[in-house]
Assembly symmetry: C2
């Protein structure tokens, strides 16, 4: 609990002076003011995070939190639970969506077993298993409060270690069958969003299974009565280790002043949980893509962020992050390489008009 509290209370706001200077630089480049839109905003936000006008991200990675959820026994997913373990192992072989997209972006994937059911015999997985999956939230708390704290602190520790190794840009991903169910439950517990707004069909449920999924999530909330003002209570009762671990990553990124990218629905719920613990974390976050999961658009709206990409993706794993890394890096190409009005030989007569 000490590490979690220290991290939450140690987060400071963005550097407003650096942001003002970044805006000034942006406005000096040969283009109508603001015409590069979000690329300009990204650059300014990065300056607020690091204090630097320009930033390079040679070492960057998406952290994938893998965990199982006890609520699987309620039939809320069309996938067998073993898929979590199988796909986590496939991550180590570079075979999954997040792996191939990361390789394309010159980024790495950091795989964390934070609570997969079963022992994973594969190299390349950071073993931080808290237990072999959570318990069934429809029948009682998914985990103890201590386990929830441990999951948050796992995320904090992982980011801390990676920062010390020189990683400067992070993404958040997950692998865990049934984690759209836990994410919907957490979102509903923390907000006044309805079950219809929060719960989607996940990776392909039938209509009957979808109705069951909504009823199970409602039952989990009724059974556990999580305290909406106590994020740890909510996460421990109806969340998952992956959500808690990613929320820890968001807190740590803000603490260490490094940019961190949100992927889809589950990642956004984790970002929102971190935001509820300290709203300043938002200064360090970037929304990557507009997920097709129904709860996503409500969650990202409540968080007040706007995604850069519109690709109708709903795979999870962090797949939006490496695509966003490229855009974030493109913003730095603008900062570093585009000419100022002065360099571009657009003299004072023109200057007045083009601005």
């Amino acid at each position: 609990m000490e590490l979690l509290n220290k991290t939450i209370s140690g987060i400071k706001a963005a550097d407003e002076l650096a942001k003002s200077e970044a805006v000034r630089h942006m406005d000096s480049l040969i283009k109508p003011i603001g015409s590069l839109g979000t690329l300009e905003k990204i650059a300014v936000q990065l300056s607020g995070i690091t204090g630097q006008r320009s930033n390079t991200f040679e070492k960057k990675c998406t952290i994938v939190m893998a965990a199982d959820n006890g609520v699987h026994e309620e039939g809320v997913s069309s996938c067998p639970q073993e898929i979590t373990a199988v796909q986590t192992i496939n991550m180590t072989k570079g075979l999954t969506g997040i792996c191939v997209l990361s390789q394309h972006a010159g980024a790495e994937v950091v795989i964390v077993d934070i609570g997969v059911k079963g022992d994973l015999n594969a190299g390349g997985i950071i073993n931080k298993k808290i237990s072999h999956g959570t318990r069934n939230m429809a029948k009682g708390p998914a985990m103890t409060r201590e386990q929830a704290v441990k999951a948050f602190e796992t995320g904090i520790e992982i980011v801390g270690e990676l920062v010390s190794k020189g990683y400067k840009l992070f993404g958040t991903g997950e692998m865990g069958i049934c984690n759209t169910s836990t994410s919907s439950a957490v979102l509903m517990a923390l907000t006044d969003i309805s079950v219809e707004q929060a719960v989607g069909k996940g990776a392909g449920l039938t209509d009957a299974d979808y109705e069951n999924k909504k009823r199970v999530i409602e039952r989990a909330l009724e059974t556990n009565k999580p305290d909406s003002n106590d994020v740890l209570d909510v996460i421990s009762k109806v969340g998952g280790y992956d959500i808690a671990g990613m929320a820890g990553c968001f807190l740590a990124a803000a603490y260490y002043r490094v940019p961190i990218v949100i992927d889809g629905f589950i990642s956004t719920v984790a970002a929102f949980a971190a935001y509820k613990l300290n709203p300043l974390v938002k200064d360090y976050m970037f929304a990557s893509h507009s997920s097709e999961e129904i709860g996503y658009k409500h969650a990202i709206q409540i968080l007040g962020l706007e995604p850069m990409l519109n690709l109708h993706m709903r795979l999870g794993e962090g797949t939006g992050c490496p695509l966003a890394f490229n855009i974030i890096e493109a913003s730095q190409a603008v900062v570093k390489n585009m000419a100022t009005f002065e360099q571009g030989a657009i003299n004072d007569d023109f200057l007045v008009d083009i601005r």
Copy 2:
């Protein structure tokens, strides 16, 4: 006229067999079916264009058509006309937005003077000047029909030469003060879109100047009475060399079966003009980003395409294209490197469920 006619009539539809095979391959990869959304659709479309399951784009470029517009004398832009020439020269030095974003994407910029006012003394510009800018469309036709044909054929020739040099992926951009005015006029002439829907404030007009811009565009349409069923009549009377040149690029890309990316508003209007000449060109087009120019959303909707990026950009120059190149290439990373269910050790029992 012969080259233009040959190109229009030589365009064939996408390869449906190759598309079916691409879909089958996509559905065999370890992910829920369709969960990579637009990345999957891009990959399938590319297969339809080239006939290949996977594609590589080592040589890729954005073609920037630079031209001046006589309507400048009506005060429809806040920029002096000389900015067209200055920025075209800045393109050769790698200083502008499209240059730095292309460099970031490993792509090139091909700069074509298709009608800039004044002689450009700079290397690295392909000189295809048709005249020193068009005439003032508010007073009569912007160009002759022969000049319009020449501009289309210039675009066709440029793409043909680049294809023969091994370029496999194209973007379209422009540089030309007042080309939002000509684009709005062309869009209104070809569709039933109103002046309020088609005309934006461009690179920063005052309210009074904005009202003037709308009146000038309406006057140009009233004066010239372009025939909405005759694209060449429309382009010659109220268009610009840049729009015609880009439209030629779209036709040629379809003719040579290479993918081509649309940038913002002006580029979309050019794409729509090409579409009106032969609707099959749409099979070869990709929309990059959702431009902030007001006419864009109507134009892209009529064309029936959806942009990948939501970055509030309105710079033009082709700046959306290199960002889209990265996403198009990401789709090929998925095609080539992601495992199939078989390779991913997800056996038949799992297979039934995850699908």
